[in-house]
Amino acid sequence: MSDELYDKLCQSVVDGEPEEAAELAQMALDQGLDPLDCINRGLTPGIDRVGELFATGDYYLPDLIIGGDAMKAALAVLEPALTQGRERQIVARVVLGTVQGDLHEIGKTLVGTMLTANGFQVTDIGVDKPASEFVAAVKDSGSTLVGASALLTTTMLHQQDVIEALKEAGLRDKVKVMVGGAPITETWADKIGADGYAEDAISAVALAKKLVSG
């Protein structure tokens, strides 16, 4: 019986059905199943499958994003029921935003989606955010990674502000900073003292994994 429910949970993520995923999660709890097993044997294989289908090109971005929504909807039911010592494994917490004066939303959001699908806990603070908001979000979420996006040659200067603000707050040695956006290059990242640069969302995931492991 429980195996069948794990499969259904998995399938609700693959199909991108948030309401159904939440209902199934509640049903599992009502039946007395362990929430961590529901996550590890239902949701995680589901989102992995979504990731594979996206990687092969069978899935489009909305399939990926709504699959992630289904996972989140089920997690919202399951996580409060987790018992001490049996928490969900996350790769790392990361704060993501587009810098001040810059309203380009899509690249940053896509990076966030891919990080989430790969086990990161993402706090997306949105667009047009001053350095102080990156710092505040790091404090609130206890993140160890910051991603700053900039799409304009005039706003890329503010990526440096984020790094400076982290220094001023005494957080620079506790968090890694990665930068990205169309005008950003490796040279620029080095110049402003960022820890890494990635050209697209897929390489952003690889970079994030490298930064938090090393």
């Binding site: 971005l61 309203l103 899509i106 690249g107 040659t153 005039t154």
Partner: protein, 483 residues
Amino acid sequence: MPNIQPIRSRYRFEVLSGDQVRAIQDATLEVLDQVGIHIPSPRALDVFAQNGAAIDAERQIVRLAPDLVRQALAQAPRSYTLAGRVPGTELYLDGAATYAGTDGCGTQTVDFDSGVQRPSCKDDVAKMARVSDYLSSVSFYWPMVSAQDFGPLAPLHELDAAFNNTVKHVQSETVMGQASARYAVRMAEVIAGDRARLRANPPFSMLICTIAPLAQDKEGIEAGMVYAEAGVPVGFMAMPNMGATAPAVPGGALVVGNAEVVAAMVLMQLVAPGAPVFYSLLASVMDPHTADYIVAIPEKYLCNAAAVQLAHDWGVPVLAGAFGMDAAEPATWELGRDSVYTALMVPLAGADMITGGGMLKASTLLVPEQLIYDDEIYHTHRVLLEGIETSAEALAVDVIQAVGPRGHYLGQRHTRRHLRDIWIPALTHPRPAAPDHAQTDIRCRAKAQLDRILAEHQPEPLERAAQDELRAILEAARQESGA
């Protein structure tokens, strides 16, 4: 005499029926009235509030009733003139012609000498202004790349480089914020002569992007108000991307973009009734795997042409997108295919202005000789749309009689007269003495043409006094910014 050849199309291509135009306009009015637009500018919100719009001050959302929209837009002129800095550069935005400009705001340049890709600089803006001054396909100039060697003052330096290196009309898409906008207006006054002449014959206009979905940029919209008050024509460009920043259907993307542009134009009319404004809507489709804005896809061409109809239905001129394609390399099959559709559909639809020449990689990479290729496609379209004459002289029955069967037309005066009227594509059929004639590779020919223009063409220089005044304005801007 400045060299400008607009496209005068004999045909009119309508993507949308009259009923479809109405359906889109009605849906747009409903969205403006019910959903509203995010406008994060206290000044703009005040203006809207004074004119009876519904304001949600906390969320900075403005909702516009259909009557307010219609009344405001009824004040916007359908026709006006853009000028250059010498006589003969006037562009009459009256529906009779399509004028083309370059693409703008790139970040990388393929170096003129070394051919190596590098960050863009002010000198690139100057050089390309000179090339644009020469080419008859270019009616107005967008500073093609960012003057990254001037940091936050880049936008004003781009204007300086443009005004100094072409007599043609200059349009910017980068001078944002009230403070910078005021400096740009002062620079334009210097070029025009004085404030009144700036209004009557503006040598400068501005294009500002709206933010999809349904929002405005604070710096952009506040600069817009400064321009509208000074009589500098100001346009708004929406770039809804189907699937990402707009519904994944062309109709819905048109509604979203239309609402953004209309809200901005309404604001301009409320601030400065009768201010010259123009409309621009470049909807496209997101790449379903990367979320990139796909620059070359049929839905975009359709929406571009539809946007021309929507603009004219509102009674304002329109700037449509052409060229500026995805491809990373010039002279490729991909680029040829894509350029033709974008650049042909919009003059056919009756666009007043088109832009996009000279840039690759989705308007980020300046490949200087690309403007030469685009020039050739432009002229092909110009001739195509001018159509065929059927006057007695054009049917030439007398000459046909004179030559009779067999023989040839080589020695006819009629031939001598009219062969000169025919535009010959110079990249594929260079003149014998042209420096590129010996070259067989089309890329070398394009580069040779570019090099020749850069070596030989000097636009009429800007008067010394004006040059000095521009420099003084740049210096004042530098001091104010503390740079």
